[in-house]
């Protein structure tokens, strides 16, 4: 196909300022168009490559849309049972203390079935990094309600909107575990705009560096979209996320250097 606006004089290897890292396996991602998983994966791989950690990295993938993460990330990985990734990572880090060990989990994995494993890995202060992709829905299984689904938000198991009376309030698991002394660094980011992508990459890098220093558990929540589950276009879903998810799940640092960051309370929408 003829490229009308190509500048072949610039398209030289020495002029490359951005190229997808080779640590992303060269194959199409199975994620929906516009899904933040692909971006989060790539930022994590960039950090691992730049820090020269490939030979020392062991990742644990969840059950959820990213169950196939191990097919896309060119690092050694283990696929955990639903919710159990922090248990795997606990043993792996205890047995390979000089390795970079992370889990990559969704909201059902981390805050529903895996609640005990999440809380106890945090409580023990395991020296691992937990990456938590929160899109307020169960994507892989067809859009059911998640612990982090917002009040009034529709899903296939809350077709009239989440009713907090019968279904409970959204679980702010990140704020809960931030109070545990074994947790050192907690932050909430997103990957839907370039600046947020840059901030997420910085957060991943910080967590990897802190793990080298044995500081305790680093927990990075990425509030992300699920345009399929939310039944929107990708661009619409990012806008909806800004307008609805961010007021509830506020972006920014929650705990730094082992100390909670002072924050004003969010008011839950009725």
């Amino acid at each position: 196909m003829e490229e009308q606006f190509a500048k072949p004089e610039i398209q030289k290897p020495e002029n490359i300022v951005y190229k997808k890292t080779d640590l992303m396996v060269d194959r199409p991602l199975s994620y929906c168009p516009g899904c933040g998983h692909g971006t989060a994966h790539r930022m994590l791989m960039e950090v691992i490559e730049e820090m020269g950690l490939v030979e020392k990295t062991i990742g644990v993938s969840p059950v959820g849309c990213s169950v196939l993460a191990y097919d896309f990330l060119d690092i050694d990985m283990l696929g955990a049972a639903h919710g159990r990734a922090p248990a795997l990572a606990t043993a792996i880090k205890r047995l390979w203390p000089d390795h970079f060990v992370f889990t990559y989990q969704g909201d059902g994995d981390l805050a529903a079935i895996g609640t005990a494993e999440t809380i106890h890995a945090c409580n023990r202060g395991e020296n691992i990094t937990i990456i938590f992709i929160n899109n307020g829905i169960y994507g892989m299984t067809g859009g059911q309600m998640a612990p982090t689904t917002l009040p009034g938000m529709r899903s296939s198991t809350s077709p009239y909107g989440r009713d907090v009376q019968t279904m409970g309030h959204p679980l702010k698991i990140t704020e809960l575990i931030a109070h545990l002394p074994g947790v050192y660094y907690v932050t909430r980011q997103s990957v839907h705009t370039p600046n947020n992508v840059r901030r997420t990459k910085k957060a991943f890098r910080k967590a990897a560096e802190l793990q080298k220093e044995n500081k305790g558990l680093c927990f990075i929540e990425i509030v992300s979209n699920c345009n399929s589950g939310w039944k929107m276009t990708p661009v619409q879903s990012n806008k909806w996320m800004e307008e609805n998810m961010f007021p509830f799940y506020q972006l920014g640092d929650i705990k730094v250097d082992g100390k909670l960051v002072e924050k004003k309370e969010t008011v839950e929408k009725e």
Binding site: E9, I10, Y18, K20, P28, P33, V191
Partner: protein, 76 residues
């Protein structure tokens, strides 16, 4: 005098037409094609020469289909 010139190369076969890059570009360089790729997606394409190689589009692309070039070019 020198000017920063940028260019992007899009892997149109891997693009899923999510359009997130369109909003990310500060210079409206990207729009979606009328054609579709072999998967049936409209794909991202350049519609002007204004690219400065800022990498915003490539950063935000969930499928990592964009490669960005940037060079300082002397202006005569």
């Amino acid at each position: 005098m020198a000017k920063i010139i940028g260019d992007i190369v899009i892997n149109t076969e891997r693009c899923k037409g999510c359009e997130v890059c369109v909003a990310a570009c500060p210079l409206a360089v990207i729009a979606m094609s009328k054609e579709v790729n072999s998967k049936g997606y409209h794909f991202a394409m350049k519609v002007n020469n204004e690219c400065t190689g800022c990498t915003n589009c490539a950063l935000v692309c969930p499928d990592g289909v964009i490669t960005v070039y940037r060079a300082k070019v002397a202006i005569a």
